[in-house]
């Protein structure tokens, strides 16, 4: 029997695919019951055939790609309520992993169901997001990248001052094209300047909104 109290770390092979009996399917009609993924478990892999789209009920997901020597680029984080998994030719070009304990609706899209009309706007939203992230990676320095990241995360969590970061510093680095050390140093500098506070490792409190916005340019 599968261990429901699995350690919250990345596992080598497809873990965490423990379907539950629809207990998260509240609020809207969906084609499939939600699936639970433990922290670090794989949602899909590069090269895998697409099964449909993924809507996050709770938790968070990282979508990334690897270079042959192990360098990793996270192309997006996805939070509760967001939909991801768009691909061009029915084959995944990226990996997707749960960052923390995460519940996901797998939507088996097909020409026959009513989803197709809603697909394009969602895909376009992903496109604009990716294109805006290109600007960050191509033309902004370390402080600006972190500032942009924090602003974005805060906005996506409702604009509250308290932002929680489900991902590790390594994840943030691989998202922003920085090393873990640089991420840490910039956090320290922002803290020291009084722009942010760090109640805990995975929680940021934004003290000076305007300064952060200006930094994000």
């Amino acid at each position: 029997m599968a261990n429901l109290h699995a350690p919250q770390i990345a596992l080598p092979v497809h873990p965490g695919l423990i379907a539950r009996s629809g207990e998260f399917a509240q609020g809207r009609p969906v084609a499939q019951p939600p699936v639970f993924f433990s922290a670090g478990s794989e949602v899909y892999a590069q090269g895998e055939r697409c099964k449909g789209l993924y809507r996050i009920e709770f938790g968070a997901v990282r979508v990334y790609r690897l270079l042959s020597d192990g360098r990793r680029q996270i192309s997006a984080f996805h939070l509760a309520g967001e939909t991801f998994g768009f691909e061009a030719d029915n084959v995944h070009h990226f990996f997707a992993e749960a960052i923390c304990a995460t519940g996901i609706h797998i939507i088996h899209a097909s020409p026959t169901n009513g989803m197709s009309g809603e697909l394009l706007p969602l895909a376009l939203k992903s496109l604009v997001r990716a294109q805006e992230h290109l600007l960050v990676l191509g033309r902004q320095n370390a402080i600006e990248r972190i500032a942009a990241f924090l602003s974005d995360m805060a906005e996506r969590q409702g604009g509250l001052k308290q932002v929680d970061l489900p991902m590790s510093r390594a994840d943030i680095g691989d998202y922003l094209g920085l090393t873990i050390e640089t991420v840490s140093r910039v956090f320290s500098r922002l803290k020291q300047k009084g722009v942010i506070r760090l109640p805990s490792l995975r929680c940021v409190e934004i003290a000076k909104w305007q300064v952060l916005q200006d930094l994000a340019a």
Copy 2:
């Protein structure tokens, strides 16, 4: 009367919107006649309302965004045969300019015409492209970026050894997140290593395919 022999430079305000009487509308039925854009002229601007999609008949286009201090990030180049102009909320979030003399079909998409079925695959192709470019900007060094760029351009031009680059070094730099000087230096290094030859400024001949591929990683 508009000057058809306008200088091939960037102009301050909306030039080049000289509609021709359908002389390029060969091969496929389109909703509108093609439009001619001179080098450097604006196809659309950030903040402008979307008029539809754009299919390039000949020439090339750069799509970019600016930071307040003038830093520029080109998110994509588009060549003949390609379709661009996807946006999330009917408003352009980017600028688009013709790189050289360019003919474009403006496709006024609407729910009523037959386009909507072909839209999603095209949008998804743009999405995958952008996401793969994130990996380049986030995790690859200067040589790898140039190698990836040249491989991509070569592939999109049919895999021939002779690749022509309609864009300037500055454009390449702003696409790859490098300075114009670094772009030039890397070109020189690749030439000196015998990986490429430069018959002219805007034309590259790839001498050692395998080496280039390996560099692009």
